[in-house]
Symmetry: C5
Subunit: 321 residues, 5 copies
């Protein structure tokens, strides 16, 4: 579905175009066309392919979708794929935006995502001195918008980790901690898959040997790279922390088990002593003088009680109880 199709000259909006007019404006110098599609049909893609002379393989990638993020040069033009992440009740939905950039055009195709880029166009039009850098700057503006939307996701993942960390040494929380850590780790993967290849690709745009169409905006791409590097470093830290947390959690379970074991041992010991004593005085030997004593029974109870209390005190002291 066509969202927008506008021609710009020297950074200012020139005219809203119909698709058929595109080729007229492409011929003008100092002018570029910015087209935005959404969930493009094969027909629309074919039309655009013809208008802008897009490369077969790039259009193929846009059609099939499910690419990893990348930025590729096809001759003078650039083809970029970025992931759009949406969190829907904890589940991630991975959309995609494909951007085709040439000397005098930029075409963005957004697929399977609710996130629109109208704000990007508005901001660009408010700053004609920057938009004058050309189609490369629009690519930057789109990338910047995409990356800006990764930050709140990362923040949410970080605060989720913090919540788990508050519970990590709590007794009895082991099972739920493990489940949440495992879940968090798989969420991290979505963001990581969006960020890491894009960071690598952006690094090339900002370097000295990037494509000509992006040369004017090199400092800006470095800025995007920097944001991606920050997210990436945070993701690596979260992943590393999750690994440690799982390990620590296992230790905590073992420690708790060990404490239960000690308690078990202690109480079992106390009752075993009582039972053994009682068993002995329950034997049927004829000649057991203490059984005949008048205060034999209370004394026996006292003996048993004393032994149990002594054990109890001992176990308390060594920390088993």
């Amino acid at each position: 579905m066509l969202i927008n199709c506008v021609a710009y000259e020297n950074g200012s909006r020139l005219a809203d175009l119909s698709v058929e007019e595109i080729s007229d404006y492409l011929a003008k110098p100092d002018c570029f066309v910015w087209v935005a599609l959404r969930d493009a049909t094969p027909q629309e893609l074919d039309q655009m392919k013809e208008e802008f002379a897009l490369h077969d393989l790039a259009v193929e990638d846009a059609r099939h979708g499910h690419q990893r993020p990348k930025i590729e040069e096809y001759g003078d033009s650039v083809f970029a794929v970025m992931h759009l992440l949406e969190q829907d009740k904890g589940e991630f939905n991975v959309g995609e935006v494909n951007v085709f950039v040439g000397r005098n055009y930029i075409l963005s195709v957004r697929n399977r995502s609710q996130q629109h880029f109208l704000g990007v166009r508005e901001r660009c039009e408010r700053e004609p001195h920057l938009l004058r850098q050309g189609a490369g700057f629009v690519l930057y503006a789109l990338m910047d918008a995409v990356v800006d939307r990764y930050f709140p996701i990362m923040d949410r993942l970080e605060s989720e980790l913090e919540k788990i960390e508050e519970q990590i040494f709590a007794k009895g929380a082991a099972r739920s901690n493990i489940e949440r850590l495992y879940d968090l780790k798989s969420k991290i993967t979505f963001l990581k898959h969006a960020v890491a290849p894009m960071m690598e690709a952006t690094g090339k745009l900002s370097g000295g040997r990037g494509p000509a169409v992006c040369a004017n905006s090199r400092d800006y791409f470095r800025d995007v790279y920097d944001h991606l590097a920050r997210i990436n470093a945070s993701l690596d830290t979260i992943r590393d922390t999750i690994g440690t947390a799982i390990q620590v959690n296992l230790s905590m379970v073992t420690i708790e088990e060990s404490e239960v074991n000690k308690k078990l041992a202690a109480w079992a010991g106390i009752f075993a002593v009582a039972t053994a004593f009682a068993g002995i005085w329950g034997m049927n030997f004829k000649a057991m003088p203490e059984l005949q004593w008048e205060y034999g029974y209370p004394m026996a109870l006292l003996a048993i009680g004393t032994a149990c209390v002594a054990l109890y005190v001992h176990f308390r002291r060594v920390g088993w109880l």
Copy 2:
């Protein structure tokens, strides 16, 4: 066994050749010969070696088989080895396709595999404007076909992992989870061995300093590289997830054990109390007044029952039962 031997001119099929005619067509300009062998005998290889002046070492590799995937330049010609994976009742069968590419010929030798490449030839012949790029494009088409067949394998491995993940926090599933994770990991290795070295090699074909015969199709090889990179990234994620899952599984086992231990401790405690009480009233002291009471016995049963119930309630409350 010779499957096919065809000459092409400007991207169009010229003629089906007998092996003896090959040299005639190699002499023509703008013409290349595409030969497909299957489970080639040493004699066939020697014949081809002579026809195309193949390098000793490359032919040797094709004869011996069991190479790792690679793409090597011998002077102007290129020798590529790729793995063909077939899953037969869970077991992987690793076949091989060896491709020799020169300026005006391409020879593919498929060994120990049921996967044929007839479709590749048909598709190439349907797109003469692409086939005109020469033997390098055919190499691309073959690689693309091989890599396309890796995707369903990877999907199957991914869905296998997902099935295990559904069970990972289930009680009593630990042993089978571990076995399936271990099994999955060894399957991953097959695909990894096919993909990782091939990705590395393809990266060189798509770079600026690749062999001349592939120069026309550089963008296409980058596409293959990209697919391989995607599979490779997914494989790394699966491996990483398997590692975490094994760790998590160990935690779950320990947690379950700890719960069993608590139950054991609780019930052992309850019965130990009953036994200890009974033991005490089973002692043979003469002067045990309560034994003479009319309601001594029911009171004793009540005392024992109360103690047991109290313990039971306590254990319930602390979550041991």
Copy 3:
């Protein structure tokens, strides 16, 4: 808030300036201006941006803060971000210093931190032969000061690790060890995030292709790099040691548990023997001759005692008790 604004000529203090005078001095040859701001307001930043013709993106970064440490070139000028770490009751506070360096100016903006750099200015003014190297040397002096403040933090983390290590094989210290190791690991992360990207960036300043403004002070930046490399290597060692320590701790818990288990087994065995013997002589068979013996009871006690002692000695010998 403006802290300081001074012009230097040939390494010597020339004059204290008001902000308005800056542009006069920037015009003079062999002269540079050194401005220090603290928690700069957007207005102050805008003013500075105009005076020094700073790049949009750099000013933006300084305004937003929370950047990762970096050193970026914008044309002839350099923009550096460094982290200032303060430990407040164990919690880390991460402040930032942003430095803009050009051929004839240096501007430092310190945010969210109590650490001032007055000492740096004094030391620079005491060594005019070094300050003569220009604004690049001031950047070095600031970086050196920042890095010097990392050392005591690292020392404290190292001695914390040592204290934990003293306890690592102590009985019953497992839980607190784990908690302290986990806490230490997250502290390490703060320092790591400050040091690692800065080390990488500084490496470029000291290399042959660094920015022109830093070229005179290349050896000095290498010195800073070296300090950062030392801290970084120590941090990696601490992290690695923490990992091993957590693993070792888990082993110690399991070993202790195993020892408790053995003790439990041993005592349970001893009392079980006593109880079984007593149980047997507590049976009500009519014809149990030993029950009638005069010394049956003491002999029974002796038998039980002997069995228990024998078991005790045995368990001692095998190390279970």
Copy 4:
């Protein structure tokens, strides 16, 4: 000990030489001398050093032995060290072969190993068209022979791993599995130490900037590199698998322990119930009506038996027994 000393011209055997004649043949063009020593004495090495003008450090390395595999250039000449592995009753014996290669000579010195290279010489002499490539080709032939002997070792290690894997989920095999895995890992290390540095060094020989003496045989060295890369990849896989297997094994032990624990808990519970019941009817209260019943005893036995069976059935159902 001198094994062989032969001069070659244009790839064909010219003459067997005494050591004294070597220098005569070195002077001839298109001619090279191939000397093989075994467990060379310092005197022999000194003699060779003089004949071929070998470099001090290379000779020193050959004298001392116990080098890591490497390939070094000394001016125009090349010095290579390779490991020869022999498995003697499971123990590895690490021998060494040192090869000195110059424009017109090749000297191999084999130390502490039974593996001879007579076959290499024979094969070379059978293929004069290859041997014509000069001393560099002989170096290739020796390296190829050494590497070919690594394959059966690797195969043996792989099949050892497979045998362990068959046992990995077997009950009660944990201890022996762990011991065998640990042992296998240390064996892997021997092969890894032989292969990894040699692979790295060979990579340089096959690259564009390798030594002149090896330039003719570049494709051949790449072949050796490829074999080494294959072994190396397999070794990495084995190591990785060993790591996972040890982890899995630990899980299996914990699972088995957990199962034993459950059984213990179940049986202890069953008998505790029986004992508690018996204890209660063993109390000496006067007024226990059921004791007087005619069928009290069988009913008691029945009650106890029923309770035990009920428990048994319950435990069976929950999978503890």
Copy 5:
């Protein structure tokens, strides 16, 4: 403290100098001065700084000490820092040697270490044809001496590991194994910190773009590099093995615990059976015919004994006892 100060010409000792004479000899062509200091005072360092025009930062580093090993170029001169390790009752003492090398001088400053380098000077003087290479060769000779002293330390660490490995599967050795492995790992760190950065730095000296003063001795520096690489590889292997050993040890503890558990379960079962039987015949039912039988008691004992023996045999068979 000045140890030695000698001038050399064409590789031969020319004269012992006082510090004041140094500058005279520095002026002579083909002549270099070799000075050795020990625990130099700031005054001595300042004097040397003046004589040889050393760089501020290098002298600063030498004064402060506690640097990581490194080799830095300051213009035409080279500054090297190496660690001297001494093992004093198991504890490592880390000394340092700082070497300043210029075209015509070499100054070594040894700090906090008992290891002297007199032997290096003697050996150098015995080989004037090598010493003629100049100050760079002396640097090599010093580095070689330092590295040679790392080998026995590494050997001791390796044999320590071997001793632990002999115990690793021994029963009851887990705690001491863990402690020794942890201790060994921290020792490894000392050597690693000395070797790894030095290896990296030496790699640059032996490469094509090293400093001019070392150019004559490039092959020799490569030799040092090689030794360091060997130590480094061994250290990595030891570290890896320690990691595996700790993991294996944890498995062994768990296995032992599991065996103890089985034994406990078995014996507890046996005695529980005896106690249950005895308890039943200890019940006070009136009508228990077997109690009246003449051989009731021995038959009961037989029954109990048989049950216990049967259980014992069963447990033996399943390997629990």
